[in-house]
Symmetry: C2
DNA sequence: CGGGACGTTGACTCAAATCAATAACCGTGG
DNA sequence: CCACGGTTATTGATTTGAGTCAACGTCCCG
């Protein structure tokens, strides 16, 4: 139905694609907007037609920019299908990838307070978005309270997901960074009702590396390391997680043992607890 | 005009300086809430008393937690005075600092969609916050449209600031990371009407290191490196930026020359442009 | 005074950036 | 059809930046 290209040998079958509406996506912004945009269920359900006209659907072919950093912002977008790469681009043209956005993600919201987009968004595959002009947003919120509620939920989610990203980037070793990223991705897929164990990464190694803050060669090596350890099976962008629990355990490894840190000067009970799990966590599971 | 204490024994009584309302803070959420909480101007200005009762003021002494990760969430907070450290804490007790929050920052918003806080917030100095119970939020938004608008502005800002953080953490070298952090901090101070060149960091080296994703010794070394280069003057937590422009230039240095990256497969004009500023950018300005 | 937290600096080691070579893939066009 | 340039992915060799361990000084508080 959607990507007749792919041509993928591995991990095809069950629509590796991030498209396909998730009926399991209980009441996300995307689902709500879908109802608004296409009068799908209950066509007589008292939804103001004005609200419907406020929501427009837009196709974005692979490789096309939905918004350019620095360009004036017109609308708020919500990803319906596909994947986008969100990035900052500094004046020398060096690109810092900030996130990858899939179904339900809010785009351009960070432009609300400015006249221009701080970030750019480019489609990594053929995608579609819902668009709502800034000028229509207030009215839509007032007419469809559910939308406003979901908008806030989505915002809250976006915020905590960005925090997760910081967690990932703060990880000590490149393998842990990658492991955390894959787990996060897996979890997001699961939340959308897709397979959390088998998926196709929509971005290249360079973009991934940029987001993780490492060199792209390092991402490559980290992949093979995790694969050699039996946690993953990797074939280019096709990833299968073989040992989800093991990966999770591995992703928690820190180089430094946790120093029982008191928050400030606050002295509390025990200075004890030391000597948590140390040792290179990949040494053991290696099938050598 | 500002730091009357300085040299202080670090955050004692007199509400260290990041307090002092910024009259320059044109219409931030904080200012708006301040009007609501204290009926400052135009007491008869038709502000619903219900709205006033929804906003409560709360003191948080230095070192005290405003919210604990994992604890149930009751309210949305907006920082009025002081500074907070926002962090994730993994199950082994290892703390990952995510951000530092100053006046106007939204706290606990990421708990909106969950029952429990994903992050914890601890005051780094004596601080005060506005608190709004989740149950009161909807009503307040409806009664005070300005508040809702400002809330959205603040959210948008928070989102793009988190993106900036990712930019910082993605920086190649530890010195650049620190430089970018200091510039960001400087800019935020300036936006609040305080000196962008001279300030006191409210967090310790370890917290800073955690947020930058480096070892605390490395932060120490990065400080002395920047100071030796003549860009800064550092004395413990007191920082003075001597060469703002130089620091800005330095903060842009990337190790890799920018690869004229085409976003996807999109081929555009020039493959040219190469050989931008290379070479260790600190070697030159050293006053040896 | 001693204990504790913090900050700085040095020495050593290692993980990852860098440089480099190879292979696979894609669309284009002879 | 295959050859071609372009992009991407993997792997290897080498170098170096930063993590780690450790020592030391300071300040604060009890």
């Amino acid at each position: 139905m959607n990507h007749p290209h792919d041509s993928a040998p591995a991990a095809h079958g069950t629509t590796a694609s991030s498209g396909d509406f998730s009926p399991a996506g209980r009441g996300s912004v995307a689902d709500l907007l879908h109802v608004l945009a296409t009068g799908a269920p209950s066509p007589s359900s008292g939804l103001p037609t004005a609200a419907r006209r406020a929501v427009c659907l837009r196709r974005v072919p692979a490789g096309r920019y939905l918004m350019h950093a620095g360009a004036p912002s017109e609308a708020l977008y919500v990803v319906r299908t596909g994947t986008f790469k969100i990035a900052h681009t500094d004046e020398e043209g060096y690109e810092q990838v900030l996130a990858f956005a899939a179904r339900g993600a809010l785009l351009a919201y960070d432009a609300l307070c400015m006249k221009h987009h701080p970030t750019s968004a480019v489609a990594l595959e053929d995608s579609t978005v819902f668009g709502i002009l800034w000028s229509d947003l207030d009215g839509l919120c007032r007419q469809v309270p559910d939308f406003e509620r979901e908008l806030h939920r989505a915002l809250s989610l976006a915020l905590s997901q960005t925090h997760d990203l910081l967690d990932i980037m703060a990880a000590v070793s490149s393998e842990v960074r990658l492991a955390r990223f894959l787990l996060r991705h897996s979890g997001q897929l699961a939340a959308r009702g897709q397979s959390p164990r088998r998926f196709v990464l929509r971005m290249g190694r360079r973009d991934l590396a940029s987001m993780l803050g490492v060199a792209h060669e390092t991402v490559s090596r980290a992949f093979t390391t995790l694969a050699t350890a039996g946690l993953l099976q990797v074939n280019d962008r096709h990833v299968e997680i073989l040992d989800l629990e093991g990966l999770r355990t591995f992703s928690r490894s820190t180089r430094r043992p946790p120093e029982d840190v008191s928050p400030f000067n606050t002295r509390r009970s025990g200075p004890a607890r030391r000597a948590a799990a140390r040792a290179s966590p990949l040494a053991a599971p290696l099938p050598g």
